[in-house]
């Protein structure tokens, strides 16, 4: 049996850690019934994806992609990849926009249903549907 390739493990452990974080967020979204908690889980998932992207752009021995002020670029200096930073910058701002929209929806749901628990909302919905069916069948019965 081949021994564990430590270089490989150390080179990939960052990805694995971010995937663990991602899955924690995913678990919160799927398993928790509270809507606010779901949003927090979504945020955790999102941030983990951001960090995954940024870690792809990192170059060993590199520095932040900012030139010296006089613009005399020293070719010996290694800069990290600026492209993921730009994309993630955009993604963070879009992320806060979706989060705020989700939270506003939660406030509306709470107003309409009086609860922010998924189970209770489903129960109320079911009762409403049953009532609809009953009314409908009454109307049909009168006709018959």
């Amino acid at each position: 049996m081949q021994a564990i390739d430590w270089e490989f493990v150390v080179g990939h452990i960052n990805y694995w850690l971010f995937i663990v974080l991602m899955m924690t967020g995913f678990y919160i979204v799927v398993a928790k019934g509270n809507l606010v908690k779901k949003i927090v889980g979504l945020n955790i998932f999102q941030t983990a994806v951001f960090m995954l992207y940024i870690s792809i752009g990192k170059v060993t021995g590199g520095t932040a992609p900012i030139f010296p002020l006089d613009m005399n670029v020293d070719p010996a200096v290694v800069y990290s990849n600026p492209l993921p930073h730009v994309l993630i910058l955009t993604a963070i701002v879009v992320g806060i926009a979706t989060t705020s929209l989700g939270l506003a929806l939660i406030v509306r749901i709470r107003e309409e249903y009086g609860t922010i628990e998924e189970d209770e909302i489903l129960k109320i919905e079911k009762e409403m549907a049953l009532q609809d069916v009953r009314q409908h069948s009454e109307v049909i019965g009168e006709r018959g």
């Binding site: 452990i13 678990y27 398993a31 606010v36 908690k37």
Partner: protein
């Protein structure tokens, strides 16, 4: 520490604590981003993630309630789904280049060109700013459009909240 914070979010039932923990999570991730050379992203994450979203979260809690009820169904199926997804993702990373490798595909494609050309084409010391505002200007325009739309959506959803409340009180 990040993992510990995320797990604490899973465990706690107080939504107030959840909001605070998500702020802590954002701040820690901002620190990590500084280590990864992404200072601009770290600024944004600290301001937006730890600042604005915590405030929004607290505002929502003020309008709704503070505690979540205990889960009614077993966590076995979600746990299984999550584990399978995670295993698939980890399998996907096996092909990826080592962390910090300078010869990774992401590093040799267009990034060096941006680094080279923005010096005399844009002349802004911060390359992230140069790309964000110039090379990918339309992207940023689209982003502002998204934020604007979200703002309108929030306003529409929340407008009349006070009016409706007053009506309800008069009905009672």
């Amino acid at each position: 520490m990040l993992v510990a914070t995320a797990l604490a979010v899973v465990r706690t039932q107080s939504l107030f604590a959840t909001a605070m923990l998500s702020g802590v999570f954002s701040l820690l991730s901002a620190l990590l981003l500084v280590v990864l050379d992404a200072v601009d992203v770290a600024f944004t994450e600290a301001a937006v993630g730890a600042g604005i979203s915590t405030v929004l979260m607290l505002g929502t809690l003020a309008l709704t309630r503070r505690f979540e009820s205990a889960p009614s169904h077993s966590p076995a199926i979600p746990l299984f789904v999550v584990l399978v997804t995670g295993a698939t993702l980890i399998y996907g990373t096996l092909d990826m280049p080592n962390f910090g490798s300078a010869t990774a595909p992401a590093q040799v494609h267009v990034a060096p060109e941006y680094l080279e050309r923005s010096v005399h084409e844009i002349g802004v010391p911060n390359i992230v700013t140069a790309i964000l505002a110039s090379y990918r200007g339309f992207d940023t325009l689209g982003e502002t459009a998204v934020v604007f739309t979200a703002g309108i959506g929030v306003l529409l959803l929340l407008s009349g909240l006070r009016r409706r409340r007053r009506n309800k009180r008069e009905d009672v």
